[in-house]
């Protein structure tokens, strides 16, 4: 009896896995995100947090590129800055502004961690990503 139940369980697990595979595998990757939105997911998924979505359009209405990319030292590469929460609460990267002084503070986890789980780190709607025929050797991060 006990064995039977266990096997039932595994059958259900297999079916559920297949279902997930179908959902993730075939679901059209219909990301039509805003141009320049960066998903940051080097650590978030593993830590059980939603990935971070950084909206360039929103920030460039308020700051020139220079403020982040020269003064605060953000490199021009999605995932290339090794950002984590300790650095943020110490006032680096996002924490240079999201400190309750220039902009709302870090306790608003869900405003930054708002991405779909499993979305990889990348800048969205880039010319490279949107080429109808993928360019040869395009690094797919």
């Amino acid at each position: 009896m006990a064995i039977e139940r266990k096997q039932w369980k595994s059958a259900i697990v297999i079916a559920a896995t297949a279902w997930m595979a179908v959902l993730f595998g075939f679901a059209p990757s219909e990301a039509t995100a805003e141009y320049g939105d960066v998903v940051m997911n080097e650590y978030s998924d593993e830590a059980g947090m939603r990935p971070v979505v950084f909206p360039h359009w929103f920030h460039r209405i308020r700051f020139r590129c220079k403020v982040c990319h020269a003064d605060l030292g953000f490199k021009f590469q999605a995932g290339g800055n090794d950002i984590n929460m300790l650095k943020i609460i110490d006032g680096e990267y996002c924490g240079a502004c999201h400190n309750g002084d220039v902009a709302w503070s870090v306790e608003n986890c869900d405003l930054c961690h708002s991405g779909k789980a499993g979305t990889p780190t990348q800048v969205h709607e880039s010319t490279l990503q949107k080429l109808i025929m993928p360019a040869g050797g395009a690094p797919k991060k």
Partner: protein, 217 residues
């Protein structure tokens, strides 16, 4: 015996789920003869966070974040990317992005130096304007990592740009996309320099020239 039956049931359940998944898929898939098979329809531009495919619609954030359209409604329209002309938005003072993290009064030091890069073939020459770039960027954002600051010292090609190098570090990611050819290829070739074939190609599209050059101060 039991194992076999369970395996059978398991397989049945799996196929049932697969069938359901595919029907969902098919019902969601577009008409095979849709007018635009590959191009994204205009209705999908500037989607609100909950519908953009990267925000989790269940997240509190997705509801609380600003939809891009709301912010862009008062700004000059662009042809691609964010569908905003950021150069014009700044020139018209529709936006006032800070040049300093804290000081709203800090002003950029602009450098008005155009670098013309002659292009072989039919395409107009490329004019690289320092002015519009120094509105947004610091010299150190480009020099020397992306470009050696010396006219002609850098090899630039369209292939490199499309792969996200040189001008493509920003154009095609955050600054206006590569599809807007004439914003970079803005200088019609001098008559003396053009061959007959090139002159013909340039003459074939005279109407488009003034529009493209109008943006260049």
């Amino acid at each position: 015996m039991i194992t076999k039956r369970l395996l059978f049931i398991g397989t049945m359940a799996m196929s049932a789920l697969l069938a359901v998944a595919f029907t969902l898929e098919v019902s969601e898939a577009a008409d095979p003869n849709a007018f635009n098979r590959l191009m994204k329809p205009p209705s999908k531009r500037n989607p609100p966070p909950a519908k953009d495919g990267i925000h989790d619609p269940e997240s509190v954030g997705a509801e609380a974040l600003q939809p891009p359209k709301e912010a862009f409604s008062a700004m000059p329209k662009g042809k691609s990317g964010n569908y905003v002309d950021w150069v014009q938005a700044l020139a018209d003072q529709k936006i006032a992005p800070r040049f300093d993290r804290l000081d709203p009064e800090a002003k950029p030091i602009l450098m008005d130096l155009n670098i013309v890069r002659e292009v072989k073939g039919s395409m107009p020459n490329v004019v690289y304007p320092h002015k519009q770039h120094t509105e947004w960027l610091d010299c150190s954002n480009c020099h020397p990592a992306i470009f050696i600051p010396q006219k002609g010292a850098n090899q630039i090609s369209m292939a490199a740009i499309l792969l996200g190098e040189k001008c493509g570090v920003c154009h095609g990611k955050v600054a206006f996309p590569v599809s807007e050819c004439r914003r970079c290829h803005s200088q019609p070739k001098g008559k003396a320099a053009t061959t007959k074939a090139e002159a013909g190609a340039a003459a074939a599209q005279p109407a488009a020239q003034p529009a493209a050059t109008a943006g260049q101060p």
